[in-house]
Subunit: 208 residues, 2 copies
């Protein structure tokens, strides 16, 4: 318990610093391989001509995801957690010091791929975005409810694969809303671009 309350204090500090500079921080959480980095790549390619952007990447090992983001032309920093299963507020406050985060930036934090532990750790973000791919099965909101309750936004990804998998998208959405009635849900394919417009519009509205 003491770990969480110390984390909450640091998260509060992060949040105040972000708000003072008009920085909107989003915490992207999902299972491993749900498509967080692919969604970011396609999102940043479009938004980078409209607003300042920055990315903090969290993984147990490798620099892969930060390198993919830098290849799009957006500043990114990689945090390696080792055997750790989530990012915490202290890691974020250190990372932000090494990253060029301009005023009124959209700051994306891609968490370690884990649908469990990151639900408990506030990073100081504006909101949590939980990403669920159509290949994982529609029962995840019921089986991993804490993450869907902790999030404000849900993005159902890889919808281009719907013809090939047994995934009932309306059931997945109603199960998610049952666990968290306030969730706003987007459906998209970062690969084909289908559904990206509504997601991009929502991101633009955050800085309005």
């Amino acid at each position: 318990q003491a770990i969480l309350s110390k984390n909450d204090q640091l998260a509060g500090q992060n949040r105040r610093q972000f708000q003072a500079r008009g920085v909107i921080a989003l915490n992207l959480v999902s299972s491993p391989g749900s498509g967080k980095t692919t969604l970011l790549e396609q999102t940043l390619k479009i938004l980078k001509t409209e607003m300042p952007l920055a990315v903090i990447e969290g993984d147990q090992q490798t620099m892969h995801d930060a390198e993919r983001i830098e290849a799009v032309g957006v500043p990114a920093i990689q945090i390696n957690t080792g055997s750790g299963c989530h990012l915490d507020a202290d890691m974020i406050s250190r990372a932000v010091q090494q990253l060029p985060v301009a005023e009124r930036s959209l700051l994306f934090i891609e968490n370690v791929g884990n649908l469990v532990c990151p639900a408990l750790f506030d990073l100081g973000e504006e909101c949590k975005v939980v990403i669920l791919s159509v290949t994982e099965g529609e029962d995840k909101p019921q089986k991993y409810p804490y993450m869907f309750q902790a999030a404000q936004i849900a993005v159902i990804t890889k919808t281009d694969l719907l013809p090939y998998v047994d995934f009932d998208i309306s059931r997945a959405k109603s199960l998610a809303l049952h666990v968290n009635p306030d969730l706003r849900i987007f459906e998209l394919s970062a690969k084909t671009g289908l559904g990206m417009a509504a997601w991009l519009d929502w991101l633009r509205s955050l800085r309005a």
Copy 2:
């Protein structure tokens, strides 16, 4: 650290009890939705006429997975971990007391969907089987190395989806072997049955 060593003691007790009764326990670990329960359903349908079987299911919430196993006609017990992110040896020793595990059974333990935390917790199993679906991307062994190092077996699932995803199966295998040269790797689709024969033969060889 004290938590792990207490867990290791209990795991040792479990292991001795399993060995004394000729029970082979396997710990199935993966990301959420990689196909653990589907693989179990198809495996048990075939093996249930050949040997005694039992299943311990681990999830944050719901009885779904145990119900799916019971529908196949194999005894199963569901452990709900709440906000907990992994099964531990104590949960297993309690569950085994409530489950009819016959002598020389194959006991499958389906862990909570999480590619991080379960790598650290010995349950008393004979070996860990890490499951990676082709929809998650081939870089998972590098990005989540601890789980691939802790496992003895890796199963690449959902190979029926290969025509529709960017997944280089030979690269995934070489990345996995780079992290753990002793891994034995199976490739299969529980949906179409492709590759299941080699997996079933390996399971049969455990009791020989």
